[in-house]
Amino acid sequence: MTRFDRIVNCIFGILQIAFAIVLMVSPGRGLILVLAAISIGLTLTGVQTLIYYLDMARSMVGGKSVLYRGLIFLDLGILTRSLIDDPRIYLIAYIGLLTVITGMVGVFRTYDLIRRGAVHWRLTAAYGITHVIMGIAVLVFGFFLRLPVMAVFAYALMLIYSACIRIAAVFKENKMIYIQ
């Protein structure tokens, strides 16, 4: 992680904690805010990736995967925006599902890291597993127990935990290799 990355991660971690507090204080409004942030983030990432493809990656071997990645992020961003006006229960479900998927990606990434012999897989594993558990908790509270406020609280707790992991990683020593 570079110095710049550490600063960005710190700020992002603090923002996540702020979001979590807003969610706990006003679950309904907080949820819209979270979804709006996710939507903007995904859309911007998609647009940025598409610009990168048009500017640079189209001349690169395997550059098409950058194009598809950009389109998928853009699609997800637009899809997320379209859910904002839906009943709250759909938002909880969407956020719960997204959290589970993010966690699964983390778990697969951990498996890949271990397979490739990387030594710094524990943080990734913790991140992935927590996301999966919390995502399932959000879905369970939202649908089976019909306690949407609890579902939102579970999500807020997950955000705080994720923020703590992010901030902890800022102070962790880098163990990646650079070929000189």
């Binding site: 710049f4 500017d55 071997v61 890291l113 290799i177 650079y178 070929i179």
Partner: protein, 387 residues
Amino acid sequence: MQIDFHYYATYCAAVIAGYSCRDSEKIAWCAQFVDRCTKTFLDRIGGPVSAATTQLQLEMMEADTSLLGLQEITRIWASFHFLPGDLYAQGPGKCSRRFLHKYRLICNTDSELLVDTVELARAKGPEAAGIAMHVLADTWAHRYFAGTPSLVINNTGYYFYEIMREGDREVEKAVKFNHNPVTKDRPDRAVYTNTMYQGTERSMMNLGHGRAGHLPDYSYARYRYMPSWGGYMEIMKDNPLDYMHAFCQMIYALKSLRDPDGRFETGHYDREAIRPWEETIRQIFEVRRLLDSEDWKKLGVEISGRALEDFDEEKYEKEYVEADQDSRDDTVLGRFIMAALAQKSMVTSRIFSSGSLLAGYPADYRFNGLKDIRDFFKNLIDKGSKK
């Protein structure tokens, strides 16, 4: 390339080219020192940090990947380790300006910049010659990669095959890369360490030949792969052949530097000079071993009659630190630093003249209010005024 070539092989080349043992040692020391002269070291000895010719792993981890940070990284790596092959190359088909500028930084051999590098070392002593030899050698090992962090130029994929000799026949094995910094490379199994894939363009993981691991630095390696910039073209890298060319070209370059009326030209390799030891040198390049220092050391004894001492990074440090400010530039390290600054300034200037800002503004742009290598210019002005 590694210490075995930069230090021991360069010593052998210098002796063959006719330099005295003492000068050959200095040339070899300076050639290897290009891989050790970091900002941290210069800071410690009170030297100008702008003269850094490489970066520590820690420095790279902490490196800023903003525009200015990237310019600094590019200045170091493009000037000393990945000398651009053609700063006015046409891009591969239709491509954006940004891509073209990075494409033009791809390292290659026998370039105009190499001529400028060697000529810059003319009449400047063994220190400058050592730096020039390091740059020359690296153009052969690091060709097809660029000295700037770039996913679109430096990335490699699953299409990576090593050609190995098993008995009488040649076999191809798919190279397996892992990212564990602790495990050693396994040439017998074609298992090597490389940097992790990072999808961002400016990630330090995409600097130089990181994505190909240390393969370009192993003299025995023969492999074929698809470079990211090649439009699905395949490249065959024959390191034993390339390293032989590098060695012969070094001898030619060093001989040319000894000649006051000489002029270095590309495409010349002094094969005649190595004839008595050609088979030994070929065997050194072919053996599947991560480091060939011992063999080169033995060859050095055979050629020069004396053993080259092990590389000591701090050999000339005391001389520099104890010298007063006015006479520091006349020490070995002082001359090395001046030569490094000149090389960096020259390459930055050429890159800038080609229309690219990837290496920032060169020192001679000072007159227009913007400058890059402050210390070099300050030194030049101070020296000029004193004279």
